[in-house]
């Protein structure tokens, strides 16, 4: 129902602690956008600025074309779901869901009459919702979420998943233009989280509005989002659909953050000869042909030092006859059921993670893939990613943000040491 536009939004705490730097984003109407990033990257702060729970230090936020910087949360036409549910413990579930409705005033047209009782015009006034209207709305929401039978209970009598559903219900009944969710699934256990995730996808089809969803879990981001905004240290790293982010990460951070297990990286040199591009990995010469090779050639990339990334699931097992295969030794293996995660070490001491689907193997073969076994690995060149060695920016993506150094992390590491001295 509304477009959300953030222009040069900044958040500064105190005098010089910058939580969000220069945030520019246009969220289209009815779009599901997910902000994702490690903790402390400013994603929650941005969301809270949209909600009006934090002041906006600089820049403007527009919701539905209206600048909302100075508006109170209640006047912004947003609703929000919190990580710890934030249900009102003293109210029943019904009253919890009805709470925003009881405070709401809706406009009504009142006819203006002259002395003789003739209608001369229409005046717009506001009124509160009747209890009937409230009950209807609440029961409708409860129906959708499957919590009708709990309406008489109090929050403490519900389980985590039910509480979260109530919280979503409370946000739903407002029919707000923008639906904000602040890590709504983080307090749930893994199984429930997966279930709620699919329910959210269902729900999204029913509630046709703009969603902004904050999470630190890239799986949630990948599964739910129309578009993902990936952030680090208060800066947007990349905005794009899940596929774009997965296939063409703008920089090394995005590449490593999206996908699990983490992308493998090699510090190597991208070379070029008459036949095309190639790299040397662990003493093995690997040609970069196909799509990637063409793309590199099209951009006429100079030979240079690069960080090459290959996702674990794109690496496959091979044999010693394959001249481009890298010989490795298995260190630790983790059997995940559908796949097998192998932590392997190459001859040059690099440690890689390989994610092998178990389907093509016999049980006997799987049993042999244990610690100490030597294996040969290979991968298709189309699934490689190249990042500039100095800036860690993808060679194929233009004007991607340079990955910031971890200054904040360094400060945190110093702290325990300082604390110790203070005590002593």
């Amino acid at each position: 129902m509304a477009e959300v536009v953030l222009e040069n939004v900044k958040k500064i705490y105190g005098k010089n602690v910058v939580a969000v730097k220069d945030f520019n984003l246009t969220i289209k109407d009815k779009e599901f956008v997910v902000f994702v990033g490690p903790s402390g990257c400013g994603k929650s702060t941005t969301l809270r600025m949209i909600a009006g729970l934090e002041d906006i230090s600089e820049g403007t936020v527009k919701i539905g074309g209206r600048i909302v910087n100075d508006l109170k949360p209640k006047d912004r036409d947003v609703s929000m779901v919190f990580q710890n549910y934030a249900l009102y413990p003293n109210y029943t579930i019904f009253k919890n869901i009805a709470f925003p409705l009881t405070l709401m005033r809706i406009p009504v047209e009142v006819p203006v009459r002259d002395k003789e009782g003739n209608v001369t015009g229409v005046k717009i006034k506001t009124r509160k919702l009747t209890s009937e209207e409230i009950a209807n709305k609440v029961s409708e929401a409860a129906e959708i979420l499957g919590i009708t039978e709990y309406l008489g209970r109090r929050p403490r009598e519900l389980s985590g998943g039910q509480k979260q559903r109530v919280a979503i219900g409370r946000a739903m009944v407002k029919d707000a233009a923008v639906f904000l969710l602040d890590e709504p699934l983080s307090n749930l256990d893994a199984k429930l989280r997966a279930q709620m995730r699919s329910e959210l996808i269902e729900l999204r089809k029913r509630i046709d509005t703009t969603f902004i969803y904050v999470t630190h879990d890239q799986v949630e981001a990948m599964t739910l989002a129309d578009r993902i905004v990936i952030m680090k240290d208060g800066v947007i790293q990349q905005v794009g659909t899940p596929t774009e982010l997965f296939d063409m990460p703008a920089n090394l951070f995005v590449g490593e953050f999206i996908g699990s297990p983490k992308m493998n990286t090699f510090h190597t040199r991208l070379e070029r000869d008459e036949e095309g591009y190639f790299v040397e990995l662990c003493g093995v010469k690997k040609r970069i042909g196909g799509e990637r090779g063409e793309a590199l050639a099209a951009k006429n990339i100079e030979p240079q030092d690069v960080v090459m990334g290959v996702r674990p699931e794109h690496i496959t097992l091979s044999n010693h006859e394959d001249k481009e295969a890298i010989p490795c030794v298995i260190g630790v293996r983790e059997l995940m059921g559908s796949s097998l995660h192998l932590h392997v070490k190459t001859a040059t001491g690099e440690e890689l993670i390989v994610c092998v689907p178990t389907a093509p193997f016999t049980l006997a073969q799987i049993a042999k893939l244990v610690s100490g076994t030597r294996i040969y690995l290979t991968f298709d060149s189309k699934s490689t990613h190249f990042f500039k060695e100095e800036t860690k920016v993808n060679l194929l993506v233009e004007d991607a943000p340079v990955e910031t150094s971890g200054e904040t992390q360094q400060k945190q590491e110093e702290l325990p040491h300082k604390k110790w001295h203070r005590i002593s």
């Binding site: 109170k72 293996r333 244990v370 610690s371 100490g372 040491h417 110790w420 001295h421 005590i423 002593s424």
Partner: protein
């Protein structure tokens, strides 16, 4: 193959080779070479032996010789240093007491001089030996750190020890791990050293912060003044008018409510200043000069006395006027600022907040102003103003005689404080002793209650104790009964003809009544004991709650680690309690310093101590603490308000300094934002 074995094999097959080999290779290389050398040589003065295995034997011989020499020299030097002191003392004694035996004194002096002459070379030798020893040690340690292939991350035992010694000798702070390697005695030494070394820095930081604060304050005032000037220069004519007619700016921007309030305040202020404020303020410097004036009464045709000045009123209303002026200046500044903001808003073409919105925001974003207005007004009028007033009284001659009405009083500088601190006077003696007893009382009362209360709580909480609720209720019930009833009764219980004495006499245990309240020391002990009786139920309640909050798994893990009940108490219960109740202990200490009820209702401060003299007709006694002294002086037959004020101010100083120190030391008091 059993299931368990298979499992182990599976784990072993997958996990062990890499990790274990790394570990063992590391230990094998590093530890084998150095472990023997680390064998403790407890007799070594530094507490750390640093001998390489290769040359251990030869070096230890050399070192033993060196050490012996060093110790011998040290001992000789000590003796040589003590002898002249003794000789001089002896000489002095002889000359004072037995001048006839002057020759003894003279020979003493000669010995002393001779001794000093010998001392010089010995001391030099000692210094050399000491230097050698240090040098030797440094050389040994410096050369023997030789794990050639150390990659910079893994340190050998040897390197670590060397680093510790170096850091200790250079007074550098140790890291956590290094600290943990010290033995208990050294840990203690290190901690106390760091503590005392930290004090100057602590004060330095505090003063620096204070300085920065003051500077920031000064700057902000200067900024304000500049801003006022700038606003006048750049502002619209409406703004300039509101410099004189407050609220004009608001009114002209249709903020009726604010404008009217501003203007009303100005009218009231000006009216007050003209009618009475100026009058009071003018006399504030002298607190009145003419008490009475002959006034001609035309009706009766006589000259009658008319009261002109009342020092008390002048002081009070003068102070009130000053408060009022401060409030006015603040409001005026607010008015100017608002005008500037209004100018800016209209310049950008935005809408100005209406009065209705102002009122609405008082229930929303500005709700704190609504909520705080009355309580803060109450605090300012009934706590801040009176306390400032009473502090000022300490600098005047206000007492029973000079009460401002019958006799004027006036400023007298630090005279009253000088009386308390005049060394050797009766008053200063009394103050010193009462202060000491107050502190003893507060410490003993706080901690005895704390530990005994905790003990009782633990007894009731113990597993296997029945009817817990009953015990708790009985104790809690005693809190409900007003103290004046129970304490007055107990005080009579121990009176000379009270039940205790009467019963003991009936049983024939004593012949004459024990004067519980007549003997100073006994009265003090009784007060402390009865305070325990009063305080235990309360402490029991508090500690029960906290004890139950200690996570049970802490105890379970301690049990598995093999701690017995006493160790569990020392290592888990106590630290947890002290951390959590830290702030409570502080407040309870402060409230014990000001614990009027127990002392006053039990003993009225007696038995009286005539040697201390009276202040304002009140004679302090053995159990008098500062607060009851203050009360006694205020309500005594010749109430000396000025002295009461001095004592009140001193109590405040004692309390605030103590709490400041404790607050900065305690870790658990810095968590305000953790909760907020």
């Amino acid at each position: 193959m059993s299931k368990r074995e298979t499992m182990e094999l599976a784990i072993g097959g997958e996990m062990l080779p890499m990790r274990f080999l790394m570990k063992y290779s590391y230990q094998g290389e590093k530890y084998a070479a150095f472990t023997p050398a680390c064998g403790a040589d407890p007799s070594d003065e530094e507490g750390v032996a640093l001998t390489h295995i290769v040359s251990a034997e030869t070096k230890s011989k050399e070192r033993t010789r060196q050490r012996l020499l060093f110790r011998l020299l040290t001992a000789v030097t000590c003796i040589l240093c003590i002898i002249p002191v003794l000789c001089v003392l002896l000489t002095a004694l002889v000359f004072v007491l037995q001048p006839d035996f002057w020759w003894v004194g003279m020979s003493g002096m000669i010995v002393a001089v001779a001794d000093l002459i010998v001392l010089i070379p010995v001391a030099r030798a000692l210094a050399r030996a000491r230097k050698d020893r240090k040098e030797q040690k440094r050389r040994e340690t410096a050369y023997e750190v030789l794990p050639g292939e150390g990659n910079g991350e893994v340190f050998s035992e040897f390197e670590i020890r060397y680093r510790i010694i170096e850091k200790l000798s250079k007074n550098e702070p140790l890291s956590m791990l290094e600290y943990q390697r010290l033995n208990i005695w050294r840990k203690f030494l290190y901690r106390s050293k760091m503590f005392f070394r930290g004090i100057p820095g602590w004060f330095g930081r505090k003063f620096k912060r204070l300085g920065l604060r003051l500077k920031a304050f000064g700057i902000s005032i200067w900024e304000n003044i500049k801003d006022i000037g700038a606003t006048f220069k750049n502002g619209s004519w409406k703004t300039r008018v509101s410099y004189f007619f407050m609220g004009f700016g608001n009114l002209s921007h249709r903020q009726v409510l604010r404008g009217v309030l501003f203007f009303l305040f100005e009218v009231i202020f000006v009216g007050f200043m003209v009618l009475s404020g100026g009058h009071w303020l003018g006399k504030f410097g002298t607190l009145g000069t003419t008490r009475l004036e002959k006034v001609y009464d035309p009706v009766l045709d006589v000259w009658v006395d008319k009261h002109i000045d009342n020092s008390f009123k002048i002081l009070l209303y003068g102070l009130l006027t000053i408060f009022f002026i401060a409030a006015f200046v603040y409001t005026w500044r607010l008015n100017v600022k608002q005008c500037r903001i209004l100018d800016e808003i209209t310049a950008t073409g935005k809408r100005v907040k209406s009065s209705k919105e102002d009122i609405q925001s008082l229930a929303d974003n500005e709700f704190h102003k609504t909520l705080l207005s009355l309580p803060v007004l109450g605090i300012v009028m009934f706590t801040v103003l009176p306390i400032v007033f009473m502090i000022l009284v300490g600098f005047t001659s206000y007492d029973f005689e000079n009460d401002g009405y019958n006799n004027l009083f006036t400023w007298c500088g630090l005279d009253n404080f000088n009386r308390v601190f005049a060394f050797g006077s009766k008053l200063s003696l009394a103050f010193g002793e009462i202060l000491a007893w107050t502190l003893i009382w507060a410490v003993v009362a706080t901690f005895s209650n704390y530990f005994l209360g905790m003990f009782v709580a633990m007894m009731i909480n113990k597993k296997g104790i029945k009817i817990k609720k009953f015990w708790r209720t009985i104790l809690v019930m005693t809190i409900a009964i007003p103290q004046f009833i129970s304490l007055l009764y107990v005080s009579n219980l121990f009176a000379d003809n009270g039940i205790v004495n009467a019963t003991l006499m009936r049983w024939g245990w004593i012949d004459s009544p024990i004067r519980f309240w007549g003997n100073g020391t006994l009265a003090k002990v009784m007060v402390l004991v009865i305070n325990i009786w009063v305080g235990i139920p309360y402490l029991m309640l508090i500690t029960t709650g906290i004890l139950m909050n200690i996570p049970a798994d802490l105890y379970e893990s301690a049990q598995i680690d093999g701690a017995n009940a006493f160790q569990q108490f020392c290592k888990i219960t106590m630290p947890y309690m002290l951390f959590v109740t830290g702030p409570y202990l502080l407040t309870s200490f402060v409230s014990n310093i000001n614990n009027f009820n127990v002392i006053y209702l039990l003993t009225q401060g007696g038995p009286e101590h005539t040697a201390w003299g009276e202040v304002g007709g009140y004679i302090a006694g053995d159990t008098t603490i500062l607060i009851t002294w203050l009360f006694g002086i205020t309500t005594g037959p010749e109430a000396s308000y000025k002295m009461a004020s001095v004592i009140g101010t001193l109590i405040f100083l004692v309390v605030s300094i103590l709490s400041l120190v404790v607050f900065t030391i305690m870790p658990s008091t810095r968590r305000e934002e953790d909760y907020a």
